[in-house]
Chain length 161, copies 4
């Protein structure tokens, strides 16, 4: 069994540009994170885009959807910004019934020592191996069905509707 990971950017992969003081995207930290976790699962990583989820367009979401549909693997993890994660899950949910798709992200970039990224990726890779077919979000140690979740923007916490 191979797990497919699609990278789309999001807080997860933000880095600090020391020349201009802005956060930006360079390469995904996924390979480094998997190495740190001594992860021995068979994983294929593909970077679809590297964007802040607030700037993600409907065209971007179609690219994600098409990649999920055409993936040979039926276990898929998507790393994604938390701000529009729910919106994208709602695009994928009705369209993908025969695969397990788990979206996850981070509240703090992986490169910050206070990041939740390593924990969340550990969760997502476990959930994708064990949940029945469907589209899910995992954050805060929990998993949520795509049609029963929202991000509480006041607290930053994901919760059931």
């Amino acid at each position: 069994m191979t797990i497919r990971v699609f990278v789309t950017g999001g807080t997860f992969d933000k880095e600090y540009n020391e020349l201009n003081g802005e956060l930006f995207f360079k390469d995904s930290h996924l390979p480094e994170i998997l190495k740190l976790g001594r992860c021995k699962l068979k994983i294929d990583i593909r970077t679809l885009m590297m964007v802040d989820s607030l700037t993600m367009t409907d065209a971007d979401r179609q690219i994600i959807l098409e990649n999920c549909k055409s993936s040979n693997e039926n276990k898929i993890v998507i790393t994604y910004g938390t701000d529009t994660m729910v919106r994208t899950a709602k695009i994928l949910g009705p369209a993908i019934k025969n695969k397990v798709v788990v979206l996850t992200g981070a509240m703090i970039p992986y490169k910050f020592d206070s990041s939740d990224g390593l924990f969340n990726l550990g969760s997502a890779l476990a959930f994708v191996q064990t949940l029945p077919n469907g589209v899910y979000i995992t954050m805060n140690g929990k998993y949520f069905h795509w049609d029963n979740v929202r991000k509480n923007n006041g607290t930053g916490i994901f919760e059931e509707l």
Copy 2:
């Protein structure tokens, strides 16, 4: 649903004693790790012991078994040293049929910046929510049934028999 976490020590919780240069146990890092992961699951942590798993006795294993049996929660995570994790799983496996028990640990102490502890705990908390009743080990991103796993001491990696 509340998840019960039993702490037993192991590499996970080892700290560096700056006065004598030895590794030792003080308090468990579990609360700190759950906070870092922004984990919002209901979790009750109980420290059963703080020992190196190489020094764990059969009496210690009985304490773990009794605590699993008498736990009101039927989802249990045990943090444990990797060296004798399989041996303890073999004590728990035949005896506990009506609960999900997931043992996990770390190859590198949580306080080292190269630790796999945060990743493994994310995995364990996800697996305990989704696997059917039984006793499992999770390391390296994978889960293993208690009767189909060994630690490869040459590589440090857990693998199926």
Copy 3:
């Protein structure tokens, strides 16, 4: 001997706001850094402002100058953003002759695990104890006289004129 530290913000103290994804200032990390360095010098920290050095006004610079002048301690470290550090040093240099003033900062916020902040503060506290009276910048392991330094904006490195 007490060393006076003036905190003015800068990259050094930037944190990641997990609710809106922006970098911001909360409290100074100086006490935490000194504890990490097991620093036993007598140090009095005063936060003068918490701003990005690009937004610092001439009025802000006057506040820094007045505080240096009126400080009872004659050894002063100022944590500061790198972008306008040279400009501020040029205000202080001609005005302060009877004290040692060392400005330092960081290219990467202290809360990133790739930060140079801990190294730079170690340098600055050593230089302030040993250099003759005058105003200096320390970055990249080196010290520079206030009138013989520029930041190379292409490389982010401080160098002599």
Copy 4:
């Protein structure tokens, strides 16, 4: 001006062996630390030995002394274990009068996220540039003359006699 760094091991460079749970020495972390500090000083690193300072012999100390004597550079930093740092300084002190030698170390290995190593190296590299000829120890943000320092084994702190 080139600064000579002699590496001798000590807590500074200890790593965690994930296969047997013991602390050990592999390669020095000095190049990585200098990169993290964005250090642009000219530095030549030579590893003389990689040992725990408690196991250091008088023959080892002679090797250090001879290397200091024969070094072309007259600014020398030695990374060393804290336990016998004072003893070695007392060998070097009477013998080296025409160079600046600064010994430093760490209470916690660099690879632990609570390490003081980065701070101490920042201090040592600053002191070696500015102190007059002689042999010094730098720890806890301070510098000490070789004949006026002890490590308080109860607290782990270096202090004047």
